[in-house]
Amino acid sequence: MTTRVWMATVVIALLLGAGSAGAEPRFLSKQYNRCSSCHISASGGGLLTPYGRSLSGQELSTTRRVTTQPGAEGTVSGEEAFLYDAFGQALGPVQLGISLRPAYLHYEGAGFSDDRNLLMNADLQGAYRGHGFTVYGEAGRMPEIGSEDAKLYSREHWVSYEGKRGIGVKAGRYLPAYGVYFSDHTSLVRNDLGFDKYDQVYGVEVSHTSERSLLQVSFSPGRAESIVKDDGGSSFNTTGRLQVDFGPKVVAVGSGLYRDGNSLEAKHGATGGALGVAPWKRLSIWTEGDALIRSNQGGTSFVFVNETAFEAYRGIWVRVSPQTRSTTDSYPGQVRWNIGADLLPRTHIHVNLDFYHDKTHGIDEGIKTFLAQLHLYL
């Protein structure tokens, strides 16, 4: 591929915006080693649980420190609730959330530059929980991609059941669990391995959760968008992810995936491991390394991502994330530096500021990108 194609790939990935309300692995430093405390999905991201909503206000934001009593039937109230509690208790067991993410993007390199304002996300998320079942759905706006206009679509919709012994089953459209679910979908371990924001599958996931471990295994006939569009890109794929908690602040993850070949991409697989440690209550360090194995002489490339996040002051985080991908005969290597800040000034207000420097092997000039996002979770 040419220089411009690779640069365009990086830019398009950023232009297409962030995924759903991000998973936040950095909260390992707060002793949250599972996503399910704060998110409906055990894989993280998306709709917050009442506990997650409460935490957003009372523990994570800079200015909100007032402890409110939970409302009736264990629901949150006040500014932590859906639309600032506009519906009171009228929604009953149904939980809703609105995720809006206006953004500004500037990039430059290889003799061109551009900047633009865009709406990355405008999603309504909802869930019902009862008797061990969870019914989950998202509806939102998919921004224009190439010649396709913006459209209404659902990133995830699924039904799950979790038994009392920790065994669960999920069926529907979801992003398969693999590695660390970094909130930045352009992270090399997400983007390169096919876990970007439009890479959900239709499938079935079987899981087992315990105090010390979480196992998730997914089987799918193909990527959801390929099945919907019948573009020839759907083929059997399976993923497995095992998380072992060596303590509240030390987590290890092992993952594997296999995707059968189809008319759009060759058969490939990946395997890797990740380690998350929080040596201090304001510091979390996640490191993931994977081998991406391609058939048809595509070669094997190794992908590495580290994300070190430090809470400088309550609600003010700084992040450093070095990332690399090794070179194969068909794919050039890449080195990325991502430096970012996350500001959480008030309940459900999240400002992301990110600077990226991407350098592709064999290309002299790198590409610099600045991305500012305002994430409102209402």
Partner: protein
Amino acid sequence: MTLGTSNSGRWFKLNCSAALVMLLMAAVTGAQSRAWTVATGDVRVTCPMTVGGSFEAKSSALAGKLSVDPSSTVLAGELSVDLKTLDTGISLRNQHMVETYLEAGKGEGFDNATLSNIDAGSLASGVDGQKPFTARLRLHGVTQAVAGRATLSTRGSSVRVDASFPVRISSYGIAAPRYLGVGVKDDVTVRVVFNATTTP
């Protein structure tokens, strides 16, 4: 003289008694009766969550003094931790744990967790090694027996103890911790690690 003889005999008996007491004291001292005073240490309580995973409540406010008497397997004295100093990393969780569930503000019997009647078997033949132990834990105003394992190691004039034992919180009259659908399971694990200075 009779009086003198009588006084002399009484004086002799008194001297003999004093000598016997001193001899006994010397014997006890010779059998290495020692006091362990906690110099540094911490308590870590691992709390498994109902949604999977766990968090840890930690305090370094561990204090106490134990007396090792070779004639008994039970250590005299107690170890205690100020429950208000327990830290889970976030204030909301601290507040709920200390105020709502441990009710540390209720005063004596609630403000500290105290471990006493620690029985690690005979230490006469040596302190070092891993040993099962039993003890009495007072928590939330309730005293219950606990049992666990401890690893003891001596270095010069200090001893390091690393002990852990399970605690069923409902046994201590503590309400099941629940907040907005997320809770702590009934069985938590307590780990006590301390360095103590030893003195005769």
